[in-house]
Symmetry: D2
């Protein structure tokens, strides 16, 4: 596997704040944009998993370190990958850079639980396993231990 | 009827933009806050209408005129009232002022259709009529024609 | 002139609400995205007008009619054009459609005043006139009266 | 010191998403609401520090663990305190609970650097030290080591 996607987002005026830079919660929205793109690249539509299989990817934790400010109209590249995954949870990693410059804006991760529509723990259907790098029922994927 | 509510919102940093003032779409969010408060004052919880009766108040039109900028940490008073209503639709009016000052920030309206959960036109259940100033099945409420 | 741009935005999960559709204030954010693209197509960067000339495009009015709901992951086309303009103000028109379908989602307009950084009325510098269809100091552009 | 504030926010429809719960980035906005209230309780207005002293509290890291979902119209209590501080940085802690219920919704922290308006590291002016629990130029406040 070891797939990562790069998604471009252009900073909206709506996303800036009184300091003239992007307000900090918007990086979590960009992470979502990157995550949805990564899922598509991995071979499934996030919304179909929700509609067809009734599986939600509920956020359990989000973390972002802010390294340099982004400003209105900047082109931001959101790099996204699966950091860890097993049948119960998935962890995504993110890195945001300014397009055309060697500037790292932010880095972070989100941890998610697979849930049913009524918000109870679910087990990821087998058809999705390989997309998350999971090989068997007991197996978990961990990017850091995968030989690259 | 002729009820109007006044709701206080304090400007969040998240709501400001690069110009140092509140970004224009946030006034529509404040209208929602005022609308929900008005519904509560009229005697029903917006979310119960949605949960119990399956009636959604879908927005058909929104309008806002911006008169003076609001800034971070300002206290804003959102005045909200029913402008018109019948069994098919309701129109709310809004006025935003700066608390403690005689400054009108914005004014506007939203028009809503009563819809079922699957987004089809619904007829407002009779128990809600009086809250919207509707007196009979064919009647419509129009604030501008009500003697005050 | 008679230039219109078409900008694509993909609906973010962040933009949806409890009803399963896009929350109504987000259409105004998409209008901004369309407006910035239109400015770029007309030959100037919105942020440079702000930085270099100290001219802000402050919103005076916004209007949106909602015709059909947009949902998570939908591709939305935002069509944007200058509806009217003179040295004091500009009015933009918008139409949102669902990509790949003949479904009109929303239509609206925004009116803007040219302001200085300290929020006082400004006169649009001459170098920008032609971009807005303005021909002379007293002239105003009105799309509806332009022979097409 | 050891001051903590409790701020109430009512969940806006705008803050919910397609899952019927509050979208995850909005918890960071509530943290900001709590932080601003805490600053006020500590004896200074956040916006005055920015206006008068030109000191910005730029976010360096944000973390949130999501424990239970919040829904439209819920009353949320945001408990906020200073976790650590010295002249260069401040770290705030947060806990969100559902009002009237013993349900913890989320917990997290934010780390901030004191910056000048042009985004360079600043040293917190002495008049603010005591508010952050800082006693001397070299001192740092750490809640976990303060005898309570």
């Amino acid at each position: 596997m070891e797939l990562a996607t790069e998604t471009h987002v252009r900073v909206r005026y709506a996303e800036t704040d009184n300091m003239g830079v992007v307000y900090y919660s918007n990086y979590l929205v960009w992470m979502e944009v990157g995550r949805v793109e990564l899922c598509r690249a991995l071979g499934f539509e996030y919304r179909e998993m929700e509609r067809q299989d009734g599986i939600l990817l509920a956020v359990a934790e989000a973390n972002c370190r802010y390294l340099a400010p982004a400003r209105f109209d900047d082109q931001v590249i959101v790099r996204t990958w699966v950091e860890k995954a097993n049948r119960r949870m998935a962890m995504f990693g993110y890195e945001m850079r300014l397009a055309g410059h060697d500037v790292k804006l932010a880095a972070g991760y989100t941890k998610h639980l697979f849930l049913t529509r009524d918000m109870r723990p679910a087990s990821l259907p087998e058809k999705y396993w390989s997309m998350f790098g999971i090989r068997a029922a007991n197996a978990s994927y961990d990017r850091s231990t995968v030989s690259r």
